[in-house]
Symmetry: C2
Subunit: 514 residues, 2 copies
């Protein structure tokens, strides 16, 4: 068996964090911007986000929401209101204090002291309060309910330690906010949106997730219930990829969101909020990337098929381009995964082998190389990115179907790749969820003896509260663990709480997490 | 002839500015946010922007651009660099000086003096400099060219006088930036994007525009050429709806954008930039709105057809809903203007007449009302928003086709409405462009005797420069006029310059403008 020479310099098993950075760079997805904590999202990374955005937007609209847009600036006083009633209030935010620059007389510019704002403005870390204010204005009677809004926007949270896509000072996200006449409808809607996120993650991103409820201490400040989808990365850590909150009437009270009911009484609305962000792109990398770079699930790949003609700057190029163009046109006229096939004929100058490896690192699902000899034989050389190597020879596993057969087969191949990536990730995830650990000591031993990529542990617990819960959180923290969620539909508890020794009331996942 | 009772309280001819505000409010498009100069874009307004965005994005991608995303914050030093070489440098910008809030000890919050930024950050008024920096990093050799980028983003310019959609401190836009190996290609691309804007304005927004070159004094600072599309609003004023700039090597020099050419020499790139914004929505309002509210061209209407069942909270409602749902499903399965018909069955509680007028004010292209009697007769009551009134009776001009005939006819009707709105606007625009004014005195008389909605005047001029040009600008300013553009393909000049009396070299439009 020959040695495979992988396209990246760092392997996942050697240094996962370093590998992650190398994928982002090698796949040309993003880079540091020079502006503290902010990244530049390059076309391939942004193209993946655009695909996620469009598919999720369709799902959000199908669930009856309208998009709207709210100001990027939030008056300071909104946060004072929030600071009063929310204990876990985060204060790391970008604050605008001036509205003009002037020359400092030494060739530089400074904020103009004459243009100091009376009330500083905060660059939105979320639009919760400003959308709450709007809801209070827009809702008068039961006829105005439910009010179901969504916003796609950039938000800023001043982060001290940043990692591209996972935690950046500026990031892109959607935030949904809904108001309902009663508790039952609002609770149901919270779960509807959780299901939208699950479907998006699993069907569009091919990223298996566990949908469930966060424990009380992991709730969004002010929420009555917080639900999440949690994905397992290839290093065994958990990534919270989306959250959906039932807020009771807490935010309605804070913002004054109420309505006149059918009987004429003023009644508080029940609200929900839910969001996902560019963090999802980090999840795609850490779920599907391999030692050759990214592998993009076909549903969210900006280009699903890339055709690379081996041009030689000679007159024969024209016939070769024509041969390739016919395949491109045939594929573009076909559908895969419910949409027209996205196929690129890449005629950019450059050596064919270098371009092949660029597209391997970017993770285009299907790469089709065509040289003069292929054309003579009426075939193409086809690489499936999810089955890149021939283990026997240690070389790329090219197939050589006829061009027309490739045109016929590729749409179905894309569906197959989408399913294969999901199946691979699900199998790995399931193999790394551990059960049967029945004491905190056993949990400690498990994580201390599996220091590399230990995965998640499902434990049973009695759901203690107050100081007892604080103690549990501290215990877990000593192992760098956190509680993830209680999966929907998990079997009932049947054992003993590993923290308290009392009878357990539910099963919950613990894991290291991003 | 009966008196028509229009749905708005202000008529265009009585107070155009007031009418504009009323349309925005009555069509539920946007509102003041309480944050200085920033608006909340409500679902109907944002839905129109989303339609424009998606259609324009398709056109931008088809022209070979990739979308990317750059940080919202720009370091102060970037502007110092720009301030050095750009004279018309605008300094009204939102400046971030702190990254944390702390309690002031009196229940309030203040910027934390400990968290003052070493270098203030500016909320992007444009991403010109930061994208220029990226281009300088990304371009090494001729193989990397052309580099064609686009960004959809929010930008902030501190405006003292704001008007919703037309001039707000925060607005949404796209900015395209491209780098080319040579001048010819960059100049050609500048015009390609101007044509993309013309097509979007005329075909998607049904808004006729004049595409042409701005005079030297109206150029974007630093540009070699600035081209624009100019639309005439119903008050006769011009709206610059999009611009495309050929920047020569000026910005390449400022940002260091160069490449190794085929011969191995370092060569400066030629760059372009171009953008349109939410201002376009203001153009749609002032082009198509009437005394009953907005009229949205079907191509950019979030809902093209709204079906209003006249529900009575009685058991018969079920049959009526079923009757309407069949029409909705039949229409949703059809295409109009190249896309599936966007049809809403509006079952929101409320009186049918009130809901009808809401949709009239919002400008849904086709409104279909269905009452019990309609159902009995197998018909529907249909209103075309572009032909709302029966002039004879002064009542809404309902047609009553059979339901099935309506289902067949509506797709074509949408195409017809799209064309009719364009034709109406084009006819009005053409009727309000005045020619044959051959002296500045005549120009003055024209505008002083047509104070209401005088339209544009095509004048011939000698294109003076320097102090002489400044004088011309001042002369026009005294009449509140500006030069708009020199239309592509305009007939050659054949007269005398109205400013200098010398032989004219070109024809140019002058107008009052937004």
């Amino acid at each position: 068996m020959s040695q495979i020479r992988h396209a990246l310099s760092v392997k996942r098993e050697d240094d996962f964090a370093q590998w992650y950075q190398e994928v982002i760079s090698a796949a040309d997805m993003a880079e540091e911007s020079g502006v503290r904590g902010c990244m530049v999202i390059k076309p391939w990374g942004y193209g993946i986000w655009e695909r996620i955005q469009r598919l999720l937007d369709d799902r959000i609209k199908a669930a009856g929401h309208d998009n709207a847009y709210f100001p990027i600036f939030i008056p300071l006083s909104n946060f004072e209101r929030e600071a009063e009633h929310v204990e876990g209030f985060a204060k790391e935010m970008a604050v605008v204090t001036h509205h003009r620059l002037i020359a400092d007389g030494e060739g530089g510019l400074v904020p103009d002291p004459e243009a100091k704002l009376e009330e500083p403005l905060v660059v939105r870390p979320t639009s919760e309060t400003i959308i709450g204010d709007a809801m209070a204005r827009w809702i008068q009677s039961w006829r105005d309910l439910p009010l179901k809004l969504n916003q796609w926007a950039n938000v800023v949270r001043w982060e001290m330690r940043t990692r591209m896509f996972l935690r950046t000072s500026e990031f892109l996200w959607q935030e949904g906010h809904t108001a309902h006449a009663d508790e039952a409808e609002a609770r149901e809607h919270t779960l509807t949106m959780l299901e939208v996120y699950r479907a998006c993650a699993e069907e569009d991103l091919a990223m298996p997730v566990i949908a469930g409820e966060k424990p009380a201490h992991e709730r969004f400040p002010g929420a009555v219930e917080t639900w999440s989808i949690e994905a397992m990365m290839q290093d065994g850590k958990a990534l919270q990829a989306g959250t959906s909150h039932y807020l009771g009437t807490n935010f309605a009270h804070a913002a004054g969101i109420r309505y006149q009911d059918r009987e004429g009484s003023q009644t508080w609305c029940h609200t929900t909020s839910w969001g996902v962000s560019t963090r999802m792109v980090g999840g795609v990398i850490m779920t599907h990337g391999d030692d050759d770079g990214l592998r993009v699930p076909p549903t969210i790949a900006p280009w699903q098929v890339v055709i690379l003609p081996m041009l030689r700057d000679k007159p024969e190029d024209e016939a070769l381009l024509d041969y390739c163009e016919q395949l491109r046109a045939a594929l573009a006229a076909k559908s895969a995964l419910g949409e027209p096939v996205r196929v690129l004929l890449d005629t950019k100058p450059g050596k064919a082998a270098a371009k092949r490896w660029d597209w391997v690192r970017k993770g285009a699902p299907v790469i089709v190389e065509v040289g003069g000899r292929d054309m003579e034989n009426g075939v193409v050389s086809l690489l499936r990115r999810d089955r890149l190597w021939d283990a026997g020879t240690g070389k790329p596993a090219f197939e050589t179907p006829t061009r027309d057969a490739a045109g016929e087969a590729i749409p179905e191949m894309l569906t197959d790749i989408q399913q294969a990536l999901f199946a691979e990730a699900e199998e790995r995830r399931n193999a790394n969820i551990h059960r049967g650990i029945e004491s905190f000591e056993a949990l400690r031993e498990f994580y201390e003896s599996n220091t590399r990529y230990p995965g998640w542990v499902e434990v049973q617990w009695a759901k203690p509260e107050g100081a007892e819960l604080d103690g549990v959180v501290e215990q877990l923290k000593s192992l760098k663990l956190t509680m993830r969620n209680v999966p929907i539909g998990a079997p009932a508890a049947d054992g003993t709480c590993i923290f308290t020794g009392r009878p357990a009331v539910e099963r919950i996942y613990v894991a290291k997490a991003y």
